[in-house]
């Protein structure tokens, strides 16, 4: 038993130091902190939705149709955010809707990161035909406006929330492939890669153990920004009737439901819209903070 730390402990404390310095940088950005707090609260609400919702989100209370929220005239504390045209409790629907946002964002980002990183690394490690094939394929996807491409894909797959997420992931993947490839190419020319190669490291090892960790910073920022874009696009698809299907309390679908009442009961579309705006804004603020903290070079240019 020696007092000196083992290599493993050394690694751990090095990781702690990196995290600490990251947190120090991130904390400097006030907006990012506000964003983090909002998303934290939203995550809490989403996780404990079953416990905190006052009503079932799809239960229709037929005697209180289109009740205004509590602060408006005619509102009541029984339904704080009021009820929709079918008498469903808006607050409960909003709370359950937050689950959809996290679900959509996480699944889309998971697919974008895994597929994007693998394709990007393959392109960077196989210059020539394979690289060209992958990159031209990505060009084709990028030639279509993303929402149109997503709409066409949903038309093929059939309208549902899961298919909308697949379509959104497909549309976002090219950005991840391009970013991974560009990062990997700039890393490949560095000495540590050649030395690892000369020591007989396999391509897999070079790809995922040597190169990939050094490409992660911009990918994390891109993933954060895409998380918010995924929520926006899924809401837009839901709004067009091509995303989550009624009666699911997804925020975009709720907006679509409230559309015919915008002039008579504008509060009905105000609440889900505000929720989408604040969620997306918070994630974008966190993304800005991450970029500043992870990439000091960009900070001088950005702020």
């Amino acid at each position: 038993m020696s007092v000196e730390s083992t290599p493993n402990q050394n690694q751990q404390s090095a990781l702690m130091a990196v995290l600490a310095s990251f947190w120090f940088e991130f904390r400097q950005n006030k907006g990012a902190l506000y964003g983090l707090v909002f998303i934290g609260i939203l995550a809490f609400v989403a996780i404990f939705a079953d416990l905190i919702t006052p009503y079932d989100p799809v239960e229709q209370y037929r005697d209180v149709l289109k009740m205004p929220p509590v602060w408006a005239e005619g509102g009541s504390w029984t339904h704080i955010f009021g009820t929709d045209a079918l008498g469903r409790d808006q607050l409960s629907r909003m709370i359950y809707g937050s689950r959809y946002s996290f679900y959509i964002g996480s699944i889309v980002i998971f697919f974008c990161l895994t597929i994007g990183i693998v394709l990007g690394l393959i392109a960077a490690f196989n210059r020539g035909f394979i690289e060209n094939l992958i990159m031209r394929l990505m060009d084709i996807i990028l030639a279509f406006p993303s929402l149109l491409m997503a709409l066409a894909l949903v038309a093929i797959l059939g309208p549902s929330l899961e298919n909308a997420m697949i379509a959104i992931a497909v549309v976002f993947i090219p950005h991840f492939v391009r970013l991974t490839r560009a990062q990997a190419l700039s890393e490949l020319g560095k000495d540590y890669v050649s030395s690892s190669k000369s020591m007989g490291a396999s391509t897999w090892r070079l790809m995922f153990i040597n190169v990939l960790p050094n490409c992660m910073a911009p990918l994390i920022v891109q993933a954060t920004m895409s998380f918010s874009s995924a929520i926006l696009d899924a809401a837009a698809l839901g709004f067009l009737g091509m995303g989550a299907q009624p009666p699911s309390p997804e925020w975009g679908t709720m907006l679509a439901d409230s559309r015919q009442y915008i002039l008579s009961d504008p509060w009905m579309m105000g609440i889900p819209g505000l929720a989408i705006l604040f969620t997306v804004l918070s994630i974008n603020l966190i993304g800005d903070g991450l970029r500043d903290a992870l990439d000091p070079k960009m900070k001088t240019a950005k702020s």
Binding site: S146, A236, F239, P266, L277
Partner: protein
Amino acid sequence: MFSFLFRRVLVLIPTYIGITLAAFAFIHVIPGDPILIMAGERGLPPEKYAELMHAFGYDQPLWKQYLDYIGQLLQGDFGNSFVTGRPVLEEFFELFPATLELSFFALFFALLIGIPAGIYAAVRRGTIFDHSLMTISLTGFSMPLFWWALLLIVFFSGYLGWTPVSGRISALYFFDTPTGFMLIDSLLSDEEGAFKSAVMHLILPAVALGTIPMATFARQSRSAMLETLSEDFIKTARAKGLSPFKVTMAHAFRNALIPIVTVIGLSVGVLLGGAILTETIFSWPGIGKWMVDSIFRRDYPVVQGGLILIATIVIIVNLTVDMLYGIIDPRIRKKGH
């Protein structure tokens, strides 16, 4: 310049073949038989079905169908709409001016406000103006476009009653539309008040569609200006005793143009995508609404042809942006990248 352009176009050929392949694949992977969709609810007798299959070439092997399809495209034949029976290309050119008019004014609005605001924020860095502009633009950047459009309708059409809710012009006016651009056509017509009606119909959708690009332009021109303002040649220009205005505009802004032109080019895709939502909400008869309606009506030749035509526009715009780089910065042209 010519060889620069030539190289750029050459690279596009495989991409373009891919685009036609994707659009071709669309009609074959979509669930449902296109002939049966065309026939509608009543269905078809088998011999008529076989006849139509043959007439449309669906009984041929796939590669033959694709080659025929390319042959038709090269002759400008994009097929006919299942619903109206009219050629897709004809419908496209009829509706495209509406989208162009809307996108042009949205872009105009975005540039007019976004870029000066971004430049001013960079020059007055750290002031209240700078901070509020960045907050506003980040909010605009995070705004769900369809919700923003609805908010504008609630406030300006519902509450204030200033603007109409939908369409391009009031139904009271009837006149020829030789150009397809409502502002021009209404001016050419002798109808009293037609031009004003067209303007009032255009304002709200153009503002809704232009808001997100505006936020992007403000952010991008601010950060591009900040970068160039810290360069040595700006110090030199200042030391020479040039006026602050001249330093900002002639020296800094010109060098900040490359990233700004890039975002403007990229925003065309954003505008066309946004036009889908904006046109649907404002019942604006352009190609965005046309595509959404066709997807819902399962009018697949329109979707297929529309995909290719819209991708063509995006590609042409990207090419133009590439050429603009060459004009703004001769170094790029010489390197050939």
